[in-house]
Symmetry: C2
Subunit: 236 residues, 2 copies
Protein backbone atom coordinates (compact mmCIF):
# COMPACT_ATOMS: atom_id res chain seq x y z
CA UNK A 1 0.00 0.00 0.00
CA UNK A 2 2.87 2.34 0.83
CA UNK A 3 3.99 2.69 -2.73
CA UNK A 4 0.43 3.03 -3.91
CA UNK A 5 -0.88 5.86 -1.85
CA UNK A 6 1.19 7.04 1.01
CA UNK A 7 4.17 8.35 -0.92
CA UNK A 8 1.99 10.60 -3.04
CA UNK A 9 0.45 12.56 -0.23
CA UNK A 10 0.97 16.21 0.28
CA UNK A 11 -0.33 16.07 3.81
CA UNK A 12 1.98 14.10 6.06
CA UNK A 13 -0.75 14.41 8.68
CA UNK A 14 -3.05 12.37 6.46
CA UNK A 15 -0.25 9.82 6.03
CA UNK A 16 0.16 9.36 9.72
CA UNK A 17 -3.55 9.13 10.38
CA UNK A 18 -4.25 6.69 7.58
CA UNK A 19 -1.33 4.55 8.68
CA UNK A 20 -2.82 4.39 12.15
CA UNK A 21 -6.25 3.44 10.77
CA UNK A 22 -4.59 0.79 8.65
CA UNK A 23 -2.89 -0.62 11.73
CA UNK A 24 -6.24 -0.71 13.50
CA UNK A 25 -7.79 -2.62 10.59
CA UNK A 26 -4.97 -5.16 10.81
CA UNK A 27 -5.50 -5.43 14.58
CA UNK A 28 -9.22 -5.98 14.05
CA UNK A 29 -8.44 -8.57 11.36
CA UNK A 30 -6.03 -10.33 13.71
CA UNK A 31 -8.67 -10.46 16.42
CA UNK A 32 -11.31 -11.83 14.04
CA UNK A 33 -8.88 -14.47 12.80
CA UNK A 34 -8.09 -15.46 16.39
CA UNK A 35 -11.80 -15.63 17.21
CA UNK A 36 -12.41 -18.04 14.34
CA UNK A 37 -9.42 -20.11 15.39
CA UNK A 38 -10.75 -20.35 18.95
CA UNK A 39 -14.28 -21.20 17.79
CA UNK A 40 -12.90 -24.07 15.70
CA UNK A 41 -10.83 -25.26 18.66
CA UNK A 42 -13.94 -25.11 20.83
CA UNK A 43 -15.78 -27.34 18.34
CA UNK A 44 -12.89 -29.79 17.96
CA UNK A 45 -12.41 -30.19 21.71
CA UNK A 46 -16.00 -29.63 22.90
CA UNK A 47 -14.45 -26.83 24.94
CA UNK A 48 -17.27 -24.80 26.46
CA UNK A 49 -14.95 -22.30 28.17
CA UNK A 50 -13.31 -21.44 24.88
CA UNK A 51 -16.69 -21.15 23.15
CA UNK A 52 -17.90 -18.78 25.86
CA UNK A 53 -14.72 -16.75 25.50
CA UNK A 54 -15.37 -16.34 21.75
CA UNK A 55 -18.91 -15.17 22.44
CA UNK A 56 -17.71 -12.65 25.04
CA UNK A 57 -14.93 -11.32 22.83
CA UNK A 58 -17.27 -10.54 19.94
CA UNK A 59 -17.91 -7.25 21.75
CA UNK A 60 -14.27 -6.34 21.15
CA UNK A 61 -14.72 -6.94 17.42
CA UNK A 62 -17.77 -4.67 17.45
CA UNK A 63 -15.85 -2.01 19.38
CA UNK A 64 -13.10 -2.07 16.78
CA UNK A 65 -15.64 -1.53 14.03
CA UNK A 66 -17.12 1.52 15.74
CA UNK A 67 -13.67 2.93 16.52
CA UNK A 68 -12.38 2.57 12.97
CA UNK A 69 -15.66 3.80 11.53
CA UNK A 70 -15.26 6.98 13.61
CA UNK A 71 -11.65 7.38 12.59
CA UNK A 72 -12.61 7.12 8.91
CA UNK A 73 -15.37 9.69 9.22
CA UNK A 74 -13.03 12.02 11.09
CA UNK A 75 -10.23 11.75 8.54
CA UNK A 76 -12.65 12.52 5.70
CA UNK A 77 -14.10 15.52 7.52
CA UNK A 78 -10.75 16.95 8.60
CA UNK A 79 -8.40 16.09 5.76
CA UNK A 80 -10.85 16.19 2.86
CA UNK A 81 -8.91 13.59 0.92
CA UNK A 82 -8.83 13.61 -2.86
CA UNK A 83 -9.96 10.78 -5.13
CA UNK A 84 -7.52 7.92 -4.51
CA UNK A 85 -7.19 8.63 -0.78
CA UNK A 86 -10.92 8.82 -0.43
CA UNK A 87 -11.20 5.50 -2.25
CA UNK A 88 -8.85 4.03 0.32
CA UNK A 89 -10.92 5.31 3.24
CA UNK A 90 -14.19 4.13 1.70
CA UNK A 91 -12.74 0.69 1.12
CA UNK A 92 -11.55 0.51 4.72
CA UNK A 93 -15.16 1.13 5.75
CA UNK A 94 -16.33 -1.78 3.63
CA UNK A 95 -13.51 -3.95 4.93
CA UNK A 96 -14.40 -3.45 8.58
CA UNK A 97 -18.08 -4.09 7.85
CA UNK A 98 -17.12 -7.50 6.41
CA UNK A 99 -14.75 -8.23 9.28
CA UNK A 100 -17.52 -7.44 11.74
CA UNK A 101 -19.85 -9.85 9.93
CA UNK A 102 -17.20 -12.56 10.00
CA UNK A 103 -17.08 -11.92 13.75
CA UNK A 104 -20.87 -12.39 13.93
CA UNK A 105 -20.76 -15.71 12.07
CA UNK A 106 -17.93 -16.84 14.35
CA UNK A 107 -20.01 -15.98 17.41
CA UNK A 108 -22.87 -18.02 15.94
CA UNK A 109 -20.54 -21.00 15.51
CA UNK A 110 -19.39 -20.66 19.13
CA UNK A 111 -22.99 -20.45 20.34
CA UNK A 112 -23.89 -23.65 18.54
CA UNK A 113 -20.78 -25.31 19.99
CA UNK A 114 -21.74 -24.18 23.47
CA UNK A 115 -25.30 -25.45 23.23
CA UNK A 116 -24.99 -28.70 21.55
CA UNK A 117 -21.74 -30.30 20.61
CA UNK A 118 -20.83 -33.57 22.24
CA UNK A 119 -18.78 -36.66 21.55
CA UNK A 120 -21.65 -38.48 19.81
CA UNK A 121 -21.09 -36.23 16.83
CA UNK A 122 -17.39 -36.80 16.40
CA UNK A 123 -17.79 -38.15 12.86
CA UNK A 124 -19.73 -35.13 11.73
CA UNK A 125 -17.37 -32.74 13.42
CA UNK A 126 -14.40 -34.03 11.45
CA UNK A 127 -16.00 -32.62 8.32
CA UNK A 128 -16.60 -29.29 9.93
CA UNK A 129 -13.01 -29.29 11.08
CA UNK A 130 -11.68 -29.54 7.52
CA UNK A 131 -14.02 -26.89 6.18
CA UNK A 132 -13.17 -24.71 9.17
CA UNK A 133 -9.46 -25.03 8.60
CA UNK A 134 -9.93 -24.22 4.93
CA UNK A 135 -11.98 -21.08 5.64
CA UNK A 136 -9.62 -20.00 8.42
CA UNK A 137 -6.71 -20.31 5.97
CA UNK A 138 -8.64 -18.15 3.48
CA UNK A 139 -9.15 -15.50 6.15
CA UNK A 140 -5.50 -15.66 7.13
CA UNK A 141 -4.37 -15.36 3.50
CA UNK A 142 -6.68 -12.48 2.62
CA UNK A 143 -5.56 -10.50 5.67
CA UNK A 144 -1.99 -11.17 4.67
CA UNK A 145 -2.76 -10.02 1.11
CA UNK A 146 -4.42 -6.93 2.58
CA UNK A 147 -1.35 -6.07 4.65
CA UNK A 148 0.87 -6.32 1.56
CA UNK A 149 -1.75 -5.10 -0.96
CA UNK A 150 -0.90 -8.18 -2.99
CA UNK A 151 -3.28 -8.55 -5.94
CA UNK A 152 -2.11 -12.03 -6.95
CA UNK A 153 -2.61 -13.35 -3.41
CA UNK A 154 -6.04 -11.70 -3.30
CA UNK A 155 -6.94 -13.38 -6.58
CA UNK A 156 -5.94 -16.77 -5.15
CA UNK A 157 -8.26 -16.23 -2.17
CA UNK A 158 -11.02 -15.10 -4.50
CA UNK A 159 -10.79 -18.34 -6.44
CA UNK A 160 -10.52 -20.43 -3.30
CA UNK A 161 -14.09 -19.54 -2.41
CA UNK A 162 -15.40 -21.84 -5.13
CA UNK A 163 -13.60 -24.76 -3.52
CA UNK A 164 -15.04 -23.83 -0.14
CA UNK A 165 -18.52 -23.75 -1.69
CA UNK A 166 -18.05 -27.22 -3.15
CA UNK A 167 -16.75 -28.54 0.16
CA UNK A 168 -19.75 -27.03 1.91
CA UNK A 169 -22.14 -28.65 -0.57
CA UNK A 170 -20.47 -32.04 -0.06
CA UNK A 171 -20.89 -31.70 3.71
CA UNK A 172 -24.52 -30.73 3.31
CA UNK A 173 -25.21 -33.80 1.20
CA UNK A 174 -23.40 -36.05 3.66
CA UNK A 175 -25.24 -34.62 6.65
CA UNK A 176 -28.56 -35.08 4.90
CA UNK A 177 -27.77 -38.73 4.29
CA UNK A 178 -26.90 -39.03 7.94
CA UNK A 179 -30.25 -37.54 8.96
CA UNK A 180 -32.16 -39.81 6.60
CA UNK A 181 -30.43 -42.86 8.04
CA UNK A 182 -30.91 -41.83 11.64
CA UNK A 183 -33.80 -39.38 12.07
CA UNK A 184 -33.18 -39.09 15.82
CA UNK A 185 -29.93 -37.34 14.96
CA UNK A 186 -31.72 -34.54 13.10
CA UNK A 187 -31.64 -31.80 15.76
CA UNK A 188 -27.94 -32.35 16.37
CA UNK A 189 -27.05 -32.63 12.71
CA UNK A 190 -28.95 -29.42 12.05
CA UNK A 191 -26.59 -27.62 14.41
CA UNK A 192 -23.61 -28.91 12.49
CA UNK A 193 -25.32 -27.77 9.29
CA UNK A 194 -25.84 -24.23 10.59
CA UNK A 195 -22.19 -24.04 11.54
CA UNK A 196 -21.16 -25.30 8.11
CA UNK A 197 -23.35 -22.60 6.61
CA UNK A 198 -21.67 -19.97 8.81
CA UNK A 199 -18.28 -21.13 7.61
CA UNK A 200 -19.41 -20.94 4.01
CA UNK A 201 -20.59 -17.38 4.62
CA UNK A 202 -17.23 -16.47 6.12
CA UNK A 203 -15.67 -17.73 2.88
CA UNK A 204 -17.97 -15.34 0.97
CA UNK A 205 -16.80 -12.46 3.15
CA UNK A 206 -13.16 -13.35 2.51
CA UNK A 207 -13.97 -13.19 -1.18
CA UNK A 208 -15.36 -9.67 -0.63
CA UNK A 209 -12.16 -8.68 1.15
CA UNK A 210 -10.09 -9.94 -1.77
CA UNK A 211 -12.24 -7.84 -4.14
CA UNK A 212 -11.48 -4.71 -2.11
CA UNK A 213 -7.75 -5.34 -2.41
CA UNK A 214 -8.01 -5.65 -6.18
CA UNK A 215 -10.15 -2.51 -6.28
CA UNK A 216 -7.68 -0.55 -4.18
CA UNK A 217 -4.66 -1.54 -6.23
CA UNK A 218 -6.27 -1.50 -9.66
CA UNK A 219 -8.83 1.23 -9.11
CA UNK A 220 -11.54 -0.79 -10.81
CA UNK A 221 -14.75 -1.94 -9.22
CA UNK A 222 -14.73 -5.72 -9.43
CA UNK A 223 -17.73 -6.44 -7.25
CA UNK A 224 -20.59 -8.23 -8.95
CA UNK A 225 -18.32 -9.13 -11.87
CA UNK A 226 -17.69 -12.71 -12.89
CA UNK A 227 -14.43 -14.52 -12.28
CA UNK A 228 -12.81 -14.17 -15.72
CA UNK A 229 -13.69 -10.46 -15.83
CA UNK A 230 -12.20 -10.00 -12.37
CA UNK A 231 -9.04 -11.87 -13.29
CA UNK A 232 -8.62 -9.74 -16.40
CA UNK A 233 -9.00 -6.55 -14.38
CA UNK A 234 -6.68 -7.75 -11.63
CA UNK A 235 -3.92 -8.60 -14.08
CA UNK A 236 -4.34 -5.66 -16.47
CA UNK B 1 -34.86 14.45 6.64
CA UNK B 2 -35.52 17.87 5.13
CA UNK B 3 -35.80 19.64 8.45
CA UNK B 4 -32.83 17.73 9.79
CA UNK B 5 -30.19 18.40 7.24
CA UNK B 6 -31.18 20.00 4.03
CA UNK B 7 -32.32 23.36 5.35
CA UNK B 8 -29.03 23.94 7.11
CA UNK B 9 -26.87 23.71 4.03
CA UNK B 10 -24.88 26.54 2.68
CA UNK B 11 -24.36 24.77 -0.62
CA UNK B 12 -27.58 24.40 -2.56
CA UNK B 13 -25.61 22.25 -4.95
CA UNK B 14 -25.04 19.73 -2.16
CA UNK B 15 -28.77 19.89 -1.38
CA UNK B 16 -29.72 19.01 -4.92
CA UNK B 17 -27.19 16.22 -5.20
CA UNK B 18 -28.02 14.63 -1.87
CA UNK B 19 -31.70 14.80 -2.71
CA UNK B 20 -31.02 12.91 -5.92
CA UNK B 21 -28.99 10.28 -4.07
CA UNK B 22 -31.78 9.96 -1.56
CA UNK B 23 -34.25 9.39 -4.39
CA UNK B 24 -32.00 6.71 -5.79
CA UNK B 25 -31.86 4.97 -2.40
CA UNK B 26 -35.64 4.97 -2.30
CA UNK B 27 -35.77 3.58 -5.85
CA UNK B 28 -33.31 0.84 -4.89
CA UNK B 29 -35.38 0.12 -1.77
CA UNK B 30 -38.55 -0.06 -3.85
CA UNK B 31 -36.91 -2.52 -6.24
CA UNK B 32 -35.66 -4.73 -3.37
CA UNK B 33 -39.11 -4.69 -1.79
CA UNK B 34 -40.66 -5.69 -5.13
CA UNK B 35 -38.09 -8.47 -5.55
CA UNK B 36 -38.99 -9.95 -2.17
CA UNK B 37 -42.67 -9.67 -2.98
CA UNK B 38 -42.16 -11.54 -6.26
CA UNK B 39 -40.00 -14.21 -4.63
CA UNK B 40 -42.74 -14.87 -2.08
CA UNK B 41 -45.32 -15.02 -4.86
CA UNK B 42 -43.10 -17.48 -6.74
CA UNK B 43 -43.01 -19.72 -3.66
CA UNK B 44 -46.73 -19.46 -3.00
CA UNK B 45 -47.69 -20.28 -6.58
CA UNK B 46 -44.75 -22.52 -7.57
CA UNK B 47 -44.23 -19.95 -10.30
CA UNK B 48 -40.92 -20.74 -11.99
CA UNK B 49 -41.12 -17.78 -14.40
CA UNK B 50 -41.49 -15.36 -11.55
CA UNK B 51 -38.63 -17.00 -9.64
CA UNK B 52 -36.40 -16.72 -12.70
CA UNK B 53 -37.37 -13.07 -13.09
CA UNK B 54 -36.30 -12.37 -9.49
CA UNK B 55 -32.96 -14.05 -10.10
CA UNK B 56 -32.40 -12.05 -13.30
CA UNK B 57 -33.39 -8.75 -11.69
CA UNK B 58 -30.87 -9.08 -8.87
CA UNK B 59 -28.38 -7.58 -11.29
CA UNK B 60 -30.43 -4.37 -11.25
CA UNK B 61 -30.17 -4.27 -7.46
CA UNK B 62 -26.39 -4.67 -7.73
CA UNK B 63 -26.23 -1.94 -10.37
CA UNK B 64 -28.09 0.43 -8.07
CA UNK B 65 -25.60 -0.25 -5.30
CA UNK B 66 -22.62 0.56 -7.52
CA UNK B 67 -24.32 3.69 -8.90
CA UNK B 68 -25.21 5.09 -5.48
CA UNK B 69 -21.82 4.10 -4.08
CA UNK B 70 -20.18 6.17 -6.84
CA UNK B 71 -22.52 9.08 -6.26
CA UNK B 72 -21.66 9.09 -2.55
CA UNK B 73 -17.92 9.02 -3.19
CA UNK B 74 -18.28 11.80 -5.72
CA UNK B 75 -20.33 14.05 -3.45
CA UNK B 76 -17.77 13.65 -0.66
CA UNK B 77 -14.85 14.40 -2.98
CA UNK B 78 -16.48 17.39 -4.64
CA UNK B 79 -18.57 18.99 -1.89
CA UNK B 80 -16.40 18.08 1.10
CA UNK B 81 -19.40 17.97 3.42
CA UNK B 82 -19.07 18.85 7.09
CA UNK B 83 -19.92 16.60 10.02
CA UNK B 84 -23.70 16.10 9.87
CA UNK B 85 -23.81 15.97 6.06
CA UNK B 86 -20.94 13.53 5.99
CA UNK B 87 -22.79 11.40 8.53
CA UNK B 88 -25.75 11.34 6.17
CA UNK B 89 -23.62 10.21 3.21
CA UNK B 90 -21.83 7.54 5.27
CA UNK B 91 -25.15 6.19 6.48
CA UNK B 92 -26.47 6.04 2.93
CA UNK B 93 -23.46 3.84 2.09
CA UNK B 94 -24.34 1.45 4.91
CA UNK B 95 -28.00 1.49 3.88
CA UNK B 96 -27.33 0.44 0.30
CA UNK B 97 -24.96 -2.31 1.48
CA UNK B 98 -27.81 -3.78 3.56
CA UNK B 99 -30.30 -3.36 0.73
CA UNK B 100 -27.94 -5.20 -1.59
CA UNK B 101 -27.65 -8.07 0.92
CA UNK B 102 -31.43 -8.23 1.21
CA UNK B 103 -31.42 -8.55 -2.57
CA UNK B 104 -28.93 -11.44 -2.30
CA UNK B 105 -31.05 -13.31 0.23
CA UNK B 106 -34.10 -12.74 -1.97
CA UNK B 107 -32.25 -14.21 -4.95
CA UNK B 108 -31.37 -17.24 -2.81
CA UNK B 109 -35.04 -17.70 -1.93
CA UNK B 110 -35.97 -17.52 -5.61
CA UNK B 111 -33.27 -20.04 -6.53
CA UNK B 112 -34.57 -22.51 -3.97
CA UNK B 113 -38.10 -21.95 -5.27
CA UNK B 114 -36.95 -22.59 -8.80
CA UNK B 115 -35.16 -25.83 -7.97
CA UNK B 116 -37.43 -27.53 -5.64
CA UNK B 117 -40.82 -26.32 -4.64
CA UNK B 118 -43.80 -28.39 -5.54
CA UNK B 119 -47.30 -29.07 -4.32
CA UNK B 120 -46.22 -31.88 -1.97
CA UNK B 121 -44.87 -29.23 0.35
CA UNK B 122 -47.97 -27.08 0.56
CA UNK B 123 -48.21 -27.51 4.35
CA UNK B 124 -44.68 -26.38 4.90
CA UNK B 125 -45.00 -23.50 2.51
CA UNK B 126 -47.88 -22.01 4.42
CA UNK B 127 -45.48 -21.35 7.30
CA UNK B 128 -42.97 -19.74 5.03
CA UNK B 129 -45.74 -17.63 3.59
CA UNK B 130 -46.58 -16.12 6.99
CA UNK B 131 -42.96 -15.47 7.88
CA UNK B 132 -42.39 -14.03 4.41
CA UNK B 133 -45.32 -11.66 4.71
CA UNK B 134 -44.11 -10.57 8.13
CA UNK B 135 -40.57 -9.85 6.92
CA UNK B 136 -41.84 -8.14 3.78
CA UNK B 137 -44.01 -5.88 5.96
CA UNK B 138 -40.92 -5.07 8.06
CA UNK B 139 -39.01 -4.11 4.92
CA UNK B 140 -41.90 -2.02 3.68
CA UNK B 141 -42.23 -0.24 7.04
CA UNK B 142 -38.54 0.48 7.44
CA UNK B 143 -38.30 1.96 3.93
CA UNK B 144 -41.32 4.07 4.75
CA UNK B 145 -39.67 5.18 8.00
CA UNK B 146 -36.52 5.95 6.02
CA UNK B 147 -38.41 8.13 3.55
CA UNK B 148 -39.96 10.14 6.40
CA UNK B 149 -36.97 9.84 8.82
CA UNK B 150 -39.49 8.66 11.39
CA UNK B 151 -37.72 7.48 14.55
CA UNK B 152 -40.81 6.01 16.20
CA UNK B 153 -41.63 3.94 13.12
CA UNK B 154 -37.98 2.81 12.96
CA UNK B 155 -38.14 1.76 16.60
CA UNK B 156 -41.26 -0.31 15.87
CA UNK B 157 -39.44 -2.15 13.07
CA UNK B 158 -36.44 -2.65 15.33
CA UNK B 159 -38.60 -4.37 17.93
CA UNK B 160 -40.45 -6.40 15.32
CA UNK B 161 -37.28 -8.33 14.57
CA UNK B 162 -37.61 -10.21 17.86
CA UNK B 163 -41.02 -11.46 16.78
CA UNK B 164 -39.63 -12.54 13.42
CA UNK B 165 -36.85 -14.44 15.23
CA UNK B 166 -39.39 -16.26 17.39
CA UNK B 167 -41.51 -17.10 14.34
CA UNK B 168 -38.43 -18.41 12.57
CA UNK B 169 -37.52 -20.60 15.56
CA UNK B 170 -41.03 -22.01 15.69
CA UNK B 171 -40.84 -22.90 11.99
CA UNK B 172 -37.44 -24.54 12.48
CA UNK B 173 -38.80 -26.70 15.28
CA UNK B 174 -41.84 -27.66 13.24
CA UNK B 175 -39.79 -28.54 10.18
CA UNK B 176 -37.45 -30.68 12.27
CA UNK B 177 -40.41 -32.61 13.62
CA UNK B 178 -41.58 -33.09 10.07
CA UNK B 179 -38.19 -34.48 9.05
CA UNK B 180 -38.06 -36.83 12.01
CA UNK B 181 -41.51 -38.19 11.17
CA UNK B 182 -40.77 -38.58 7.47
CA UNK B 183 -37.03 -38.86 6.75
CA UNK B 184 -37.64 -39.07 2.99
CA UNK B 185 -38.83 -35.48 3.16
CA UNK B 186 -35.46 -34.25 4.46
CA UNK B 187 -33.95 -32.83 1.25
CA UNK B 188 -37.13 -30.92 0.47
CA UNK B 189 -37.65 -29.71 4.01
CA UNK B 190 -34.05 -28.52 4.08
CA UNK B 191 -34.82 -26.21 1.18
CA UNK B 192 -37.73 -24.72 3.07
CA UNK B 193 -35.42 -24.30 6.07
CA UNK B 194 -32.81 -22.42 4.04
CA UNK B 195 -35.48 -20.07 2.75
CA UNK B 196 -36.78 -19.52 6.29
CA UNK B 197 -33.22 -18.71 7.32
CA UNK B 198 -32.91 -16.21 4.45
CA UNK B 199 -36.10 -14.51 5.57
CA UNK B 200 -34.82 -14.32 9.12
CA UNK B 201 -31.63 -12.70 7.84
CA UNK B 202 -33.66 -10.16 5.88
CA UNK B 203 -35.36 -9.30 9.17
CA UNK B 204 -31.90 -8.68 10.69
CA UNK B 205 -31.05 -6.35 7.82
CA UNK B 206 -34.29 -4.42 8.31
CA UNK B 207 -33.27 -4.01 11.93
CA UNK B 208 -29.94 -2.56 10.74
CA UNK B 209 -31.82 -0.12 8.50
CA UNK B 210 -33.93 1.02 11.44
CA UNK B 211 -30.74 1.63 13.45
CA UNK B 212 -29.40 3.90 10.71
CA UNK B 213 -32.56 6.00 10.80
CA UNK B 214 -32.24 6.46 14.56
CA UNK B 215 -28.57 7.28 14.14
CA UNK B 216 -29.28 9.86 11.45
CA UNK B 217 -31.99 11.61 13.38
CA UNK B 218 -30.49 11.38 16.84
CA UNK B 219 -26.81 11.48 15.93
CA UNK B 220 -26.01 8.64 18.28
CA UNK B 221 -24.53 5.32 17.31
CA UNK B 222 -27.04 2.69 18.36
CA UNK B 223 -25.47 -0.31 16.67
CA UNK B 224 -24.36 -3.08 18.98
CA UNK B 225 -26.41 -1.56 21.82
CA UNK B 226 -29.19 -3.48 23.55
CA UNK B 227 -32.86 -2.73 23.07
CA UNK B 228 -33.53 -0.64 26.18
CA UNK B 229 -30.41 1.45 25.52
CA UNK B 230 -31.50 1.98 21.93
CA UNK B 231 -35.00 2.96 22.95
CA UNK B 232 -33.63 5.45 25.47
CA UNK B 233 -31.41 7.01 22.83
CA UNK B 234 -34.16 7.08 20.21
CA UNK B 235 -36.56 8.86 22.54
CA UNK B 236 -34.12 11.23 24.23
Amino acid sequence: MDTLHLSRHISSQFNEEIEQIRNHVMAMGGLVEQQLHHALQAIANSDTDKAQQVIDNDRKVNDWELTIDNECTRIIARRQPAASDLRLVMTILKTIADLERIGDETRRIAMVALESFNTEQQDLLVNLDNLGRHVWQMLHDVLDAYARMDVEAALTVYKEDKRVDREYEAITRQLMTYMIEDPRSIPKVMNVLWSARSLERIGDRCKNLSEYIIYLVKGKVVRHSDESELERNARS
